[in-house]
């Protein structure tokens, strides 16, 4: 019952609904896209070198134009969707879970543990994140898994600090004291009372970070430290197309558009979820029909 009412709420908010559809589409592409396009994404076709978009005489993979080696842009985007989303989602989730947990612990602990965590994040923050990523990736090599870990670590402080700040405020509310009086321990407080209240905020940051991580990944790939060809990500496509910007804008434009729309949709859906997922706000908002 609750799920169907959430869905109804989503449909009543047109912007969030469109964003949700776009995200589902992108996830669908990431799941089955590479298999659908198959060889078309990797096979060379020098007659179609830098072919302009909207030329419907070739196959559908060329509708958005072709790259310098004559591969259809659309096919490349489909192929890249899996790596791009995989890296972004994995590193955002990783930093959200670890950072959120550390932040809640730091907020609840009145002893030295909280101090250690906070100083640790200060260290990460004071070190230029791109430089750290470069060093780590140079040493470990640019495998996607390493990229995920590096990106997650550089984004950790944001989650730790936000979670801790929220906890410090929530900790003083009366229902926490009420639970303590009933004999609740720290673990119960953290899981039952604090985490559910901190999570929505972390989700919002996560959705903003989603865009940031996609761009950071493309920057690293551009510098040759991230994903290496023949693997491909949207960021790498933007980077590769840069040298043809004068003659063939579509090489960078389409993957860039996909990055922007996906990041935007994530943000829109996150801010919708903030309202829809909160019973307090939903009660106030529910009947007016827009967020």
């Amino acid at each position: 019952m609750r799920n169907s009412s959430l869905l109804a709420l989503l449909r009543s908010d047109r912007v969030a609904f469109v964003a949700a559809i776009w995200l589902m589409l992108v996830v669908g592409i990431a799941l089955v896209g590479p298999e659908v396009v198959g060889k078309a994404a990797t096979g060379l076709d020098l007659r179609a070198r830098n072919a302009p978009p909207f030329d419907f005489s070739r196959g559908w993979v060329h509708w958005l134009g072709s790259d310098a080696l004559g591969r259809g842009i659309l096919a490349r985007i489909f192929l890249a969707a899996r790596t791009t989303l995989g890296i972004a989602v994995a590193s955002v989730l990783l930093s959200m879970v670890i950072g959120g947990t550390l932040g809640i612990i730091a907020g609840l602990s009145r002893g030295s543990l909280g101090k250690v965590i906070m100083r640790g994040t200060d260290v990460i923050m004071s070190f230029p994140s791109l430089l750290m990523a470069l060093i780590v990736l140079y040493v470990l090599g640019g495998a996607p898994a390493n990229l995920v870990v590096v990106l997650a670590i550089t984004r950790l402080p944001v989650y730790v600090r936000t979670a801790r700040a929220e906890v410090l405020e929530i900790r003083e509310r009366a229902f926490i004291n009420a639970a303590r009086v009933m004999g609740a321990g720290q673990v119960h407080l953290a899981l039952r009372h604090i985490a559910p209240l901190v999570l929505p905020t972390l989700f919002i940051i996560g959705s903003l970070d989603f865009a940031y991580v996609m761009l950071a990944e493309s920057a690293l790939s551009f510098l040759g430290m991230g994903v290496q060809p023949p693997s491909i990500t949207w960021g790498l496509m933007v980077a590769e197309g840069r040298s043809y910007l004068n003659s063939a804008w579509w090489l960078s434009f389409w993957p860039g558009l996909f990055i922007m729309l996906t990041a935007l949709s994530a943000n829109l859906l996150a801010s919708w979820f903030r309202i829809a997922g909160d019973p307090t706000l939903r009660a106030a908002q529910g009947n007016t029909g827009h967020a």
Binding site: A178, V181, G183, R192, H193, T280, A284
Partner: protein, 545 residues
């Protein structure tokens, strides 16, 4: 009594706000007139429309969302149809307003003297003259050592002094009408009494009219000549102060004025076994002593009232009893065992036996949990009390006990009013069948009628379940009605303690006498006598808050 020309006429005023389900009418067809130099009190609970009415007069409503009908006339001229310039000139110069919370209504980044001067300068006074006038005003409202304190910032003043500064700003241009919206609600009773005295004196000196908005019948009885009682946006009763208080016509007014003290108390002398014993308890925050040497015993079925003003240490004492803050000296015993040296089993027993209800009904329930989850949380923590499949049934019983229904179980706290939330908190406190409930200002945030309902509920539960309460409040009238045993605290010390009736009828400490004298009673004649008596005794006592 009949003035030929009223100062302010509110003529069939209606204010509607758009709400999710159509329009919410905050004020319906309200007509009020105020004669020159008359003191009128508008009495009502939250949501009665009393503040909206005042804000409409002062043009503080945001016009597009709010729909205002009717008219407000000042000396016969309509405030709604006059040009903006003229109206701005009226506000401040002829009509001034004092708000409830002086801290948010004073700008924190400017010195207090500057802010008073600003009011004079807006209305065209020269700089030096404005400075002189500001100093004169601050001196008049009782700010000590004005010359030095003009340059101080709002946070450097106490709550009462800030309210005095607000009053000084309102009085800057000697208005003909002062609108005061709950000006003393956030203040301690002794400070409240001083502010009310100040308002009365200023009124006799300047002959201005006063429109006082309050939920406190005692305050109305103290300062008003005429009262208007509002409920749900409508006027239910209007008349001279003495007439309304002596012979209320409307059932709602009668309900407000009913004295329930007899229903509450079921006097039980101290023969029952002791449940909770405090022995020379002290609580320190660093070097600051919040509580010093409190020794008191709570017996089964007894209500221990702890009364004191802000900063008296009463809430710190509650934290110590609830094991939220370890006392720095002395010990607290629950059934004879020191609660800070309990074994594992005894620890569980303590957490079952002692529960709490807190002041703020808005923060005492987790907004993300349904009522069922809230009430069953104690059983989640103490799993042997009740098997999971019986949670829902028992929670429904508890809700029924506090006057809510089973259908409320799946709702979220946001869907309830303050009074209902406090009932949910009570149901949660009852879930483990405790022996002691600590109520830390549990009803202070509630409206009068709701407060009465919750108190009646607590009293009833006490008789039915044999509960004991530690009942902490700043409201003397409440403690007097409800408690069996009283502890009066001031700045961390117990200044007086004993059986409630004795403490209130024959107070021995000077501070208790001051508290009792300052707390206004909802009876105009008695309040007037008490006021004169109090002012006589205060002549030698220090008056600065």
């Amino acid at each position: 009594m009949h003035e030929p020309k009223p100062l302010l006429e509110i003529d069939r005023l209606s204010v509607d706000f758009p709400a999710p389900d159509g329009l919410f009418s905050a004020v319906r067809d309200v007509s009020i007139t105020i004669a020159p130099s008359e003191a009128l009190a508008i009495i009502g609970e939250s949501g009665s429309g009393k503040s909206v009415t005042a804000n409409a007069v002062m043009g503080l409503l945001d016009a597009p969302p709010a729909r205002v009908h009717g008219d407000v006339r000042f000396e016969g001229r309509s405030l709604f149809s006059m040009p903006d310039r003229q109206r701005r000139d009226l506000w401040g110069r002829r009509i001034a307003m004092v708000f409830q919370d002086p801290l948010t209504h004073l700008n924190p980044v400017y010195p207090v003297g500057w802010q008073v001067t600003e009011v004079c300068r807006i209305h065209g006074m020269a700089r030096t003259e404005a400075d002189r006038r500001a100093m004169e005003l601050l001196d008049r409202v009782g700010i000590p050592d004005v010359r030095r304190r003009m340059g101080d910032f709002p946070h450097e003043f106490s709550g009462g002094q800030r309210q005095r500064v607000m009053i000084a700003m309102a009085m800057a241009l000697s208005p003909d009408l002062l609108i005061a919206d709950e000006p003393t609600t956030a203040l301690d009773v002794t400070v409240q009494a001083q502010i009310l005295d100040l308002l009365r004196d200023l009124r006799t000196e300047s002959g201005m009219a006063l429109m006082m908005i309050t939920h406190d019948l005692g305050v109305a009885a103290d300062i008003a000549e005429r009262v208007v009682v509002m409920r749900r946006g409508e006027i239910v009763e209007e008349g001279a102060l003495d007439r309304v208080f002596a012979a209320p016509v409307h059932p709602y007014t009668r309900q407000l004025l009913t004295d329930r003290s007899e229903e509450y108390r079921s006097a039980r002398p101290g023969v029952a076994p002791a449940v909770l014993e405090l022995d020379r308890v002290g609580v320190h925050y660093g070097t600051f002593e919040a509580v010093r040497d409190v020794t008191v015993t709570l017996r089964k079925g007894e209500i221990l009232g702890i009364v004191g003003e802000s900063g008296s240490g009463k809430s710190s004492l509650a934290s110590a009893i609830l094991k939220l803050r370890r006392p720095s000296s002395g010990n607290i015993r629950f059934h004879g065992r020191d609660i800070y040296a309990l074994g594992r089993e005894e620890e569980t027993g303590f957490h079952r036996g002692v529960q709490a209800i807190f002041q703020d009904p808005f923060s005492s329930l987790n907004p993300r949990m349904t009522v069922l989850k809230v009430i069953s949380e104690p059983w989640l923590l103490h799993r042997d009390v009740l098997p999971r499949d019986r949670w829902r049934g028992r929670a429904a019983e508890l809700l029924d006990m506090v006057g809510l229904t089973e259908s409320d179980l799946d709702k979220y706290p946001a869907e309830f009013s303050g009074g209902q939330r406090q009932r949910i908190a009570i149901a949660r406190a009852l879930a483990l069948e405790p022996e002691v409930i600590v109520c830390d200002e549990a009803v202070s945030a509630l409206d009068m009628t709701v407060q009465a309902q919750v108190i009646t509920l607590l009293a009833d539960l006490r008789t039915r379940l044999g509960l004991s309460y530690v009942f902490i409040a700043h409201d003397l009238t409440l403690i007097r009605k409800f408690a069996d045993h009283v502890l009066v605290m001031k700045a961390g010390d117990v200044v007086e303690q004993g059986v409630a009736e004795e403490v209130f009828s024959r107070p021995s400490a000077l501070y208790t006498r001051q508290l009792i004298a300052s707390s206004p009673v909802p009876d105009p004649r008695r309040q007037a006598e008490r006021r004169t008596a109090r002012r006589r005794t205060l002549v030698h006592a220090s008056t600065a808050p």
